[in-house]
Symmetry: C2
Subunit: 264 residues, 2 copies
């Protein structure tokens, strides 16, 4: 009997997989991967292949979403599907899992380290104080949603932090700078005072690497700063506990005057 | 020069650590662990010791929060602090990290798989549609906060799902049943119609194990069901996308009539 196992690869390189994920991948008959919903910036398919001891077929979005390559293979074989981060964070994989299930293929999920919690941890922000997560897409003709700005506004009105994920398309990774420009564009349109050059913002990058970026400052300041290579993510803080302020000061370079503005 | 490295162990047993976490722990001079903020139900200190090839000193809450055992050791040696889940999810570790930093000890965080994303993934619920996370404490004389109920109510009013984590104290793990009874108690007090026997709820348990529990049904039904051993967590769904309804039906046994109630 076949099986389709979704295996999370974690944050940055081939060593961010769990031991369970490693063993699962090694024991599969066939391995597929995708790097369009997320990506391991610190490694590539060849190093993953070496680690797992077998070839990995990297699939395009069309092959994952349209085709039934994996579902068909999993009818009779154990198929592993490698995904950066946590494998169920992307809707498209939930859909694939349902499709496989309906075709009679049994499925399993091996969870991976997700940026969603790692970002909070790197900044010292409490996971309980985050509101809804949002993400910013690359601008396209007729598709420039204002929803990321609106989610940030609603979260902040409730005193909650906002994690803002940044789009990935092919080999193109949205930078923190592009994300901030997008939100400034929303501000120009909606003028609710949610996202201004003087707004406090946190930027993280390359989590899981030996040189992660962890910064907190004004939008205007960070727009001028070299934040290095992707992946980046943004957090717009809501109300900060004094311990959160201290973490941002000690670990993320939050300037003293901005820190003061968060203290009661 | 010493160092204090926070290492996340993930969800369930000793194989839920990442390769990076494993290598870090193996290369430390000294290993400490705590199992009071979270716990690896599927393993114990001895198996962890075997994996890492060195002794592990398990600390009590008092030793982690009050004492400076780890900070002092980390002045001159590489100290690893092993924590289930993601190591920065608990405030007490953020505080420890700040204390170490102020004492001049350099610190690092190796992220781990967190229940926060794994729960959503196991249920097929979209991480973008979660509101604020909350947790239920064991009832104590004079400490029975209504905030978990209030957070669930606010999230649901906004159409968002609520992840409800359940308390751990020493070897005592709050069960899904106890958590549901707690919320029913809040309902009896506040009567806002947020949490009733007919309310839809999801329960997950033993994530990361080979026999995870993934259920969705009415509160009244799941209160009567044997949900097995901990760790458990609850999700009270907000507005469900049709794909989320399908996942709950296919993977969590959501009954047909309850599924219908979520469809527009």
């Amino acid at each position: 009997m076949g099986e389709l196992v979704f295996i999370g690869l974690g944050l940055y390189d081939e060593r961010d997989v769990t031991l369970k994920g490693l063993e699962e991948a090694r024991s599969c008959d066939l391995l597929f991967a995708e790097f369009f919903t997320s990506s391991l910036v610190g490694t590539g398919p060849r190093r993953l292949s070496n680690l797992y001891g077998k070839k990995i077929k990297v699939l395009t979005r069309e092959e994952v979403e349209g085709g039934d390559i994996m579902v068909e293979a999993a009818m009779s074989r154990r198929v592993g599907f490698l995904v950066a981060g946590d494998p169920m964070a992307a809707t498209t994989h939930v859909e694939l899992r349902l499709r496989a299930h309906r075709a009679g293929v049994s499925t399993r999920v091996v969870a991976g380290v997700s940026a969603l919690t790692a970002v909070a941890g790197a900044l010292g922000l409490q996971i309980y104080k985050f509101g809804r997560i949002t993400s910013i897409p690359f601008r396209e003709e007729g598709f420039e949603p204002l929803s990321p700005y609106e989610v940030v506004g609603m979260n902040r009105a409730a005193g909650l932090h906002s994690l803002v994920l940044l789009d990935i398309q092919e080999e193109r990774y949205m930078t923190a700078g592009e994300g901030m420009e997008y939100l400034l564009g929303c501000e120009a349109e909606l003028s609710k005072g949610v996202f201004l050059p003087e707004t406090a913002i946190c930027v993280v990058g390359r989590l899981g690497s030996s040189q992660p970026l962890v910064r907190a400052d004004r939008v205007g300041t960070l727009l001028e700063e070299d934040l290095g290579t992707p992946l980046h993510a943004l957090v717009i803080p809501g109300k900060l506990h004094f311990m959160e302020v201290e973490c941002l000061s000690e670990f993320a370079g939050l300037p003293e005057d901005l820190a003061q503005s968060f203290n009661p």
